[in-house]
């Protein structure tokens, strides 16, 4: 799912940034439509958060956890407004 996400972001020319950790976890920051999203690719789930002034996020607990890649894909397509 990580590779799919990166390919989609590239294809749509959406600004993103990737952080990789020794734990093999990756964080993908996405800037889209004046919003800032954080995807956490953990070993057993994908975390999704929207960080803004009301949700400043001084922790690593995602707003939503997706254990099903297809569910995350639907979320991704929705926020990126892909038909």
């Amino acid at each position: 799912m990580y590779n799919y996400t990166i390919e989609l972001l590239k294809k749509l020319a959406i600004k993103y940034d990737v952080y990789s950790f020794a734990s093999e976890i990756r964080i993908v920051d996405v800037w889209y439509n004046d919003k800032f999203y954080v995807f956490q690719f953990e070993n057993n789930f994908i975390g999704f958060s929207e960080v803004n002034k009301d949700n400043v996020g001084f922790d690593t607990i995602p707003d939503e956890k997706f254990y099903d890649a297809e569910m995350f894909k639907q979320k991704l397509l929705t926020i990126l407004e892909v038909e």
């Binding site: 950790f21 734990s23 920051d29 800037w31 800032f36 960080v51 922790d59 690593t60 607990i61």
Partner: protein, 145 residues
Amino acid sequence: MNGDRSMYQMYDSEEEAGKAALSYIGLAVPVALKAGTNAVNAGSNVSKVLTRGERLAMLKERLLNAPMPKNPKEALKLINNTLDKIEKTHAGPNDRMFGILDNKYVTINANGSMTALTKGHRIEIQANGSFSIFERSTGNLFLSK
């Protein structure tokens, strides 16, 4: 029954029953249970629930006024402990922030410096314990100590 007072009492609502139960086990009824209030604890030490932004501003102020940490481990402990004290007192239900819970999102660099990520911030800690916190969405400096 048999002249004894009943063990049971009927209450008009679950809220009333809850308050009575808290009183029975010796706990003060939280002010938050009373209509129209906005507080975490009852009694003389009433703690106001603050927004995440207000709590983060408080974190900034307290970190800037805290003694200087001597290394990255101390700096991370200072950040976590300071946040924890604020959150225990001022976070509303299900709104608590937890700081850096483990090393999953921490990178230790060869020069002894450390980078830790939260969803919203990047914490850069130098080997001597000085640190800067940046907002990840904008790259803006949140604080430098």
